[in-house]
Symmetry: C2
Subunit: 222 residues, 2 copies
DNA sequence: AAGCTCATTACGGTTTTCCGCAATGTGTGA
DNA sequence: TCACACATTGCGGAAAACCGTAATGAGCTT
């Protein structure tokens, strides 16, 4: 057997139909789609109330804004809403984003059941993911498969994150020093901040501060 | 009547199948696909030599790198190659990129026949584009429809993106200057690079280079 | 050809970052 | 309490980024 009723949430209509093809090939026929998170949420809620709930949600993470203003603006918000109301409803994320920390967060915070990277073999992996999730196992695309095992970059502290965030927001090291002093966050001397950044540069193999911010952003840490 | 034989060039397999669905719905049955530009180029060339040429090419612009090293690395390069050898072969670009500048360049340099933005209504627009191109008219998605008329542009160019990418990869401005000189990319003096970055900082309201990279990364431009 | 605009390059000075070293502070175990 | 390790801070010099200005060059109009 297999899932019977599935909802696809993705703003791109062709990906929507690409995923639909995958599902059809697996013998799944009751397929709905939503191009906005708000629509998706309402459909899921309605189906649940009418006792005709979905067996599986497949959703993207990022949604382009257009003339409609949506209360749910990202896939992660949608997942959070769905999983708090129906924790048993399986969710597969299907996204371009391949930041490990992002994946890790989705698994630990919202307990998503699979993460598939949109890529050359995206739909093949998606099929695998669906089978895996049906058998109650978590599936991760190879690109992000070490999101659970790899702990190396988890050892970064809140202080470091805050520091790099401030950098990414355009503040100079001196401004950050002042800012930390005002907020009683220690260490806050210019020298200490330099030293911290130096350590972080080494840790992430970055040539300079710009590189560091880029790397940490790619990992999804900030 | 309609096009008979079409090649789809896109690295994402689900978009590939999404486009295929669009074509099927229009009654087009002979459909090939390629996930690498090199493959696409060879297929087009082979079909041409065997007198069984394609009637239409639908291609993306950006292709992710993987283990294969390709001589043609972007959709634009592919288009350039194809259009110089077979100028009469219609090409439709189907891309996430919605920069007017880009569209304008593709039309003026390579004489592409349509530009469709991957978006919520992407596949519907793609169908329109195919019909339009079949009737020998150029089609542009609404988002970029004024690419031909509008001339005042504060848009970001490929050069700028390359420049910021280099920054994000940890190179110093001097190293970027050397790199550009080696690759014959102009302007390449340190002074020019400083000036360009200054303009970009103003354009994106960034306090410094770090801020600039962070902003542009958030916008998804790099 | 002359005049104009604009892009590119060069250069000097200031600010910020980067880096090493030294001084001070803090906590832990002998 | 002393000694030791380690974190924090301060400081000075080198490198890089930042900023204004000026010279040169390329393209266009008249």
């Amino acid at each position: 057997m297999m899932f019977k009723k599935v909802l696809i949430v993705d703003d791109h209509d062709d990906i929507n139909s690409g995923v639909r093809t995958v599902l059809n090939n697996m013998g799944i026929l009751k397929i709905d789609k939503a191009q906005y998170c708000d629509d998706a949420y309402l459909k899921i809620k309605k189906a649940h109330l009418e006792d005709d709930h979905y067996d599986l949600i497949i959703t993207d993470l990022s949604f382009k804004k257009d003339y409609r203003d949506c209360s749910i603006q990202s896939g992660e918000q949608l997942i959070a809403a769905v999983k708090t109301e129906q924790p048993q409803l399986p969710v597969i994320v299907y996204s371009m984003d391949n930041r490990l920390q992002k994946v890790r967060g989705l698994i630990s915070k919202h307990h998503i059941n699979a993460y598939v990277c949109k890529d050359r073999k995206g739909s093949a992996e998606l099929a695998q993911a669906i089978t895996a999730v049906y058998n109650n196992t978590i599936y991760l695309s190879p690109q992000v498969s070490n999101a659970l095992s790899d702990k190396a970059d988890l050892e970064i502290e809140d202080y470091d994150i805050e520091l790099i965030k401030q950098l990414a927001n355009g503040r100079s090291q001196e401004e950050i020093s002042d800012y930390f002093k005002q907020n009683n966050k220690t260490p806050n001397s210019l020298s200490s901040i330099e030293k911290k950044l130096n350590k972080l540069r080494i840790q992430f193999k970055a040539n300079n501060a710009i590189h560091l911010v880029a790397i940490v952003k790619d990992l999804g840490l900030i």
